[in-house]
């Protein structure tokens, strides 16, 4: 109950954030712009709409996750509003979880709005809509959830700017972990185990990328989807637990 009320409050607070609306409007403009770019291309103009649409949803969603996510805890500490919450009978992990769920809800609704924009453009252009599009959107939301957890983790122990930089770095590395593993396999001894260890500790965000499958209408087996979803959830749980442990020891001054 306490978690839920914090989540709802966070959601309300997010709705007042101007950044959110700016990014949302940009994303919708990008999706709409595919209609103009479409006239310049030759051949498969459907794929242009899908690629730009899904790309914008993903990119702007990640920006929202990072730049709203980093402020979740640090803003409360800066404004000293955290004292009013911590002094109440609310465990710190409950506070974190509430914050996290609130932003996740915001992101879910945001993605729904952007997806509605994409679907409107698609149906306006009579593009057939396949089930794999919704699967890809689901995976995009999952990626947002992991990134939000990363941002939350960093914001429990560092300043907002530093958290933003670190989260962006994790986002970039998260898409390159495949190379990390490949490098590791070419090494021997300690180097190899260090790189492989990093490969497993860092999130493999490429797993959540099904945008290409939508473009080429390649379905993903349900078993694979479930595994990816389980991976996302487990990784999020790992990050949140870590964040709670750090936040528990945090001294607010």
């Amino acid at each position: 109950m306490k978690v839920l009320s914090i989540a709802v409050n966070t959601f309300r607070e997010n709705l007042r954030d101007k950044l959110l609306y700016n990014l949302l409007i940009f994303a919708l403009l990008m999706i709409g712009s595919s209609l103009i770019l479409m006239r310049l291309t030759l051949g498969e103009f459907h794929r242009l709409i899908l690629d730009i649409g899904l790309g914008s949803i993903n990119f702007f969603g990640v920006l929202i996750a990072i730049f709203v996510g980093i402020g979740l805890v640090s803003k409360e500490i800066e404004k000293k509003t955290i004292y009013t919450i911590v002094s109440k009978p609310v465990a710190r992990y409950q506070f974190l979880l509430g914050k996290y769920l609130g932003l996740s809800l915001t992101l879910l609704i945001n993605t729904a709005i952007m997806a509605a924009g994409l679907l409107a453009v698609l149906s306006f252009q009579d593009v057939p809509i396949h089930a794999v599009l919704f699967k890809a959107l689901g995976m995009i939301v999952l990626e947002f959830m992991v990134i939000t957890a990363v941002a939350l983790l960093f914001s429990t122990f560092s300043s907002a700017t530093l958290s933003a930089i670190l989260t962006l770095a994790i986002y970039v590395i998260g898409h390159l972990t495949k190379d990390l593993k490949a490098f590791g396999q070419k090494m021997e001894g300690v180097g190899r185990s260090v790189l492989e260890g990093m490969y497993y500790i860092l999130p493999n965000l490429d797993r959540f990328n099904l945008k290409g499958n939508v473009t080429h209408q390649l379905d993903v087996p349900a078993g694979d989807l479930l595994m990816i979803a389980a991976y996302g959830m487990a990784y999020t749980a790992f990050l949140l637990t870590l964040a709670s442990v750090i936040f528990q020891r945090r001294d607010f001054r």
């Binding site: 770019l37 310049l40 291309t41 030759l42 051949g43 498969e44 794929r47 242009l48 690629d51 730009i52 790309g55 993903n58 990119f59 986002y171 970039v172 898409h175 390159l176 190379d179 965000l205 490429d206 990328n209 945008k211 290409g212 473009t215 080429h216």
Partner: protein, 358 residues
């Protein structure tokens, strides 16, 4: 308490002073506004402000000044925008945009390096590169170097998205027909065929390149056979493939092949090229008919005819074939050789004496 001399209103309800900056024209009490027309034009407003009572005058003046200031700021913004636009145009003129665009294609990093840098947005990257490539391709004639760069760009695009079948196909057609580079076309198509075994038109086009451009009918027939075995391939392909195997080098088979490709390509320039090629094959067919008749004539009379019309008058041919390009067929009575006046050299595919020919 002053009196508005313009309307003679002594109430000064406050609305006069609290007018919003955009409604300077309504400096009057609402009640009076309804009765009289009130000031409408700018000069009327200025006149009004002069005749207003001294208490109200500063307010109206400050309003007026704020208008002038806003106008000046708006003008300044538009002026700066115009300046930026003209500077930008000037800069564009200094560097030739078209050249820069094509040369940029050559500088594209390889697909295998670009792909990880795009952080999962590589399909979108392929789309944007494809868009840029198309803008360059609009030129009617490109240099040989430029075709190499375009091939590089196509290679990058298809590395970013190996399943972009349309890019392989269009790139393959263009490199073979516009650029006359069947080697580049083939290596692009081979790459596409390898990653998209379910696309029949990639091996089909490979077959075309081998058959016509490289004069390797056997290999051409092999690729057409592969295309024919792909699910979803059109019905005429299996028949074409078998005939190509059996009668490699037969102009009638070649004409069927060209017709099939013509149907698959809506591009007008490509269609024009295919029509030209079909006419060349027609010349080859006519030459073969003429050669056969001349050989028969030589057999019967132990001498070559004096002219081609002799073949018709002595009933070796029903009529002389028309040269499809509007020229005519030339006959050398001494050697017995026939040639076309527009295309003196014969097609490579049908020449036995050339390496790789049939």
């Amino acid at each position: 308490m002053g009196i508005c001399r313009w309307y003679g209103c002594s109430r000064l309800c406050g609305r006069c002073l609290l007018v919003d900056s955009r409604s300077l024209l309504v400096i009057t009490c609402p009640a009076d506004w309804r009765q009289s027309a009130g000031p409408r034009t700018f000069s009327q407003v200025i006149f009004m402000s002069v005749t207003l009572s001294p208490e109200i005058r500063p307010h109206v003046f400050s309003k007026l000044f704020s208008y002038i200031r806003q106008g000046a700021i708006t003008l300044l913004i538009f002026g700066l925008l115009a300046l930026v636009t003209s500077l930008q145009q000037n800069l564009d003129r200094r560097s030739d945009g078209q050249v820069a665009k094509i040369e940029q294609l050559a500088q594209l990093p390889g697909g295998e390096y670009l792909k990880p840098a795009l952080l999962g947005y590589h399909h979108l990257g392929a789309d944007l590169l494809w868009l840029r490539l198309l803008q360059v391709w609009g030129k009617k004639k490109n240099t040989n170097n430029e075709y190499e760069w375009m091939y590089h760009a196509l290679d990058v695009i298809t590395t970013l998205d190996p399943r972009y079948a349309y890019a392989y196909y269009v790139g393959g057609v263009a490199l073979a027909n516009y650029a006359n580079r069947p080697d580049l076309s083939n290596s692009l198509l081979e790459k596409g065929h390898h990653s998209n075994p379910s696309e029949w038109n990639l091996p089909f086009l490979l077959g075309y390149n081998y058959y016509f451009a490289l004069g390797d009918a056997i290999k051409g027939a092999e690729y057409i056979g592969r295309a024919a075995r792909t699910p979803g391939a059109p019905d005429f392909l299996p028949g074409l493939a078998t005939r190509m195997h059996a009668e490699a080098g037969n102009p009638d088979v070649a004409l069927q092949f060209l017709e099939a490709l013509w149907k698959e390509n809506p591009d007008l320039v490509v269609r024009e090229k295919l029509e030209t090629r079909a006419k060349e094959v027609l010349i080859e067919r006519d030459l073969r008919i003429l050669e056969r008749a001349i050989a028969q004539y030589h057999n019967d009379h132990h001498a070559f005819p004096l002219s081609l019309t002799d073949l018709v008058s002595r009933k070796y041919l029903e009529r002389l074939p028309e040269e499809p390009f509007g020229g005519n067929y030339l006959f050398d009575a001494k050697t017995g050789r026939v040639t076309s006046s527009t295309h003196p050299t014969r097609l490579k595919v049908f020449r036995l004496d050339l390496e790789g020919g049939v």
